[in-house]
Symmetry: C2
Subunit: 333 residues, 2 copies
């Protein structure tokens, strides 16, 4: 790795190294999001797909397969599968969260309607299963259909855990494994599987994606409170307003004991949030070291992700995946 | 077939002949709708699954497999798969249609919320793919994932065709093939496939389910206008109020020409429906013979369904499927 490379974000280096494959994925996605009969489908899908998502998940599939020397055509199908599943969950998430923005643009449920978002999401789920079936690999189908179930389960769990002050770190981890880590781990795992690597390496790819996904989500949840330094600013406190029990909040509630409890009951359980309550919450998060503690967890998961890759064959793409695990936590450095 | 049998509804006879298999399907459904982490999932699913749906689709899978002498365990998996897909689409349909009732009970979106209906539906889709993957049959996976895509496509098409007076009978057929016939045809087709019958018989099962599904939906659409005699009464005119272009309406609009057009533009395209408009619509449907014409189409599709079964091995279960095609149109006799 040259010094020039080192100064480039690992995401950009992966994108450069996988540019041909990514072009094939883009072509396949465009072909499969088409619908002969219902033009609404490609309209909605294109709005989201072409809004410039970073395509991290499909890159993970491609990188894993290529790092293990895969030379067939199906890593492209699997990468497109993963992106379709991701896009479908975004469409449904925006309906569930009543979001008005996604990737800096008005969300599909706002531009069209909830109906279109639900049904086009279903279409993309079905398309993803068609794509993975084309690989002819039952082991891969098992991993991806399990992941789809885990994702939906995690989302339902998040829905029912919201506003529940008794949510534990264990439950948080289950939610995060569902809503974020399950697709990361499946994405890298099936990349290894299609390359027919030994079970030990398949497991390593799973562990990598799982730990990376968890680290990524914890970082996101810390940044939602303005980062470790807990500054107020644009979009700070969305999770607080939505009464989501994320890791920093769970840690602060546990550390605060009976003394802080009435505040959390009022703002999270009952949802009564007054002027100044977000600032009080941020003070509590800081004074109890909750953001610091969450940061330690994120770093630990990032290290786990890197350690898992030691089982993976030595390859520049493997090194970029390792650097990606560093990059994820750089946002809270 | 004894005279006693003849007086029993074909649905009841199928249920009796397949009672052991149906019990296995029920057990499998209960096991797979469970969720270790998110109790909301089995709650919502049970509300719908145990509300006493007729399980026509899983019975079609079981009947096709058994009629062809299948003796393995996987017809049960496929029947449960088909019921899960059906239940998932019902959950999402109720969100899309903002329904308040389903199977005579308050709908899940009303009892819980839209969020739960969307996410539990996603969970059941994923579960259905896990179940079908367990059969190890890629040909079956292809048929069912294609069906899932066709269903979603049909629903989107229905959404965009609503209120559109230029909707043709051809578009109607595409919508119906998606929202209804695709799962009927896939259900019977995979029953034959798992029994390893020759392609000619697989095709016959597809044709049977396709024609039965279309006939079934046309009958439903006729009954929504109070049947061929077009009587007013409870729940008559729901499709008119929702401005859905169903076959009777499409035929009436075409037959009415420029003379009736202002009325349809006002009530369907613009959605301005005043006191007495439903009665006027019913008069037009009757005077143009639109309900009669739709009835002829339903009978034709029912005959097609029966004719397709001539390719299927002679078996009491095959005869019950044939009688089912008669029964479907009995409602508009």
């Amino acid at each position: 790795m040259s010094l020039d490379d080192a100064s480039t974000k690992p995401h950009d280096r992966l994108q450069a190294a996988l540019s041909d494959d990514l072009a094939s994925v883009a072509t396949l996605i465009r072909a499969r999001m088409a619908s002969e009969h219902a033009p609404r489908i490609p309209e909605v899908t294109a709005h989201l797909v072409e809004a410039g998502g970073k395509r991290v998940r499909p890159m993970m599939t491609l990188a894993a397969a290529r790092a293990c020397g895969y030379d067939g055509p199906y890593h492209v199908h699997l990468a497109a599968t993963v992106e379709f599943i991701h896009t479908a969950t975004l469409l449904h998430d925006d309906v569930v969260d009543e979001s008005e923005q996604r990737r800096g643009r008005p969300s599909a449920n706002l531009l069209w309607d909830n109906q279109s978002s639900v049904l086009v999401g279903d279409y993309l789920f079905a398309r993803s299963f068609q794509l993975m079936t084309e690989t002819g690999r039952l082991d891969v189908l098992r991993v991806l259909s399990d992941a789809a179930a885990t994702i939906a389960e995690g989302e339902v769990l998040q829905l029912t855990a919201a506003q529940d002050l008794s949510t534990s770190e264990d439950t948080y981890l289950k939610i995060v494994r569902g809503k974020t880590a399950a697709l990361f781990s499946a994405a890298t795992q099936v990349g290894g599987m299609i390359a027919d690597v030994e079970p030990r390496v398949v497991q390593a790819f799973f562990d990598y994606g799982d730990a990376l996904g968890i680290s990524f989500q914890i970082v996101d949840d810390i940044l939602d409170f303005g980062g470790v330094s807990a500054q107020t600013g644009k979009n700070v406190g969305d999770d607080f307003r939505e009464r989501k029990l994320t890791l920093p909040l769970i840690k602060a509630i546990a550390a605060g004991g009976d003394k802080d409890r009435p505040f959390w009951v009022k703002t999270i359980e009952k949802g009564v949030q007054d002027e100044g309550d977000l600032e009080t919450a941020l003070d509590l998060l800081r004074s109890h070291g909750a953001l610091e503690a969450a940061r330690s967890d994120a770093l630990m998961w990032s290290s786990k992700a890197k350690a898992a890759l030691e089982e993976v064959p030595d390859d520049p793409l493997r090194d970029m995946l390792r650097d990606l695990a560093d990059y994820v936590v750089e946002r809270i450095a």
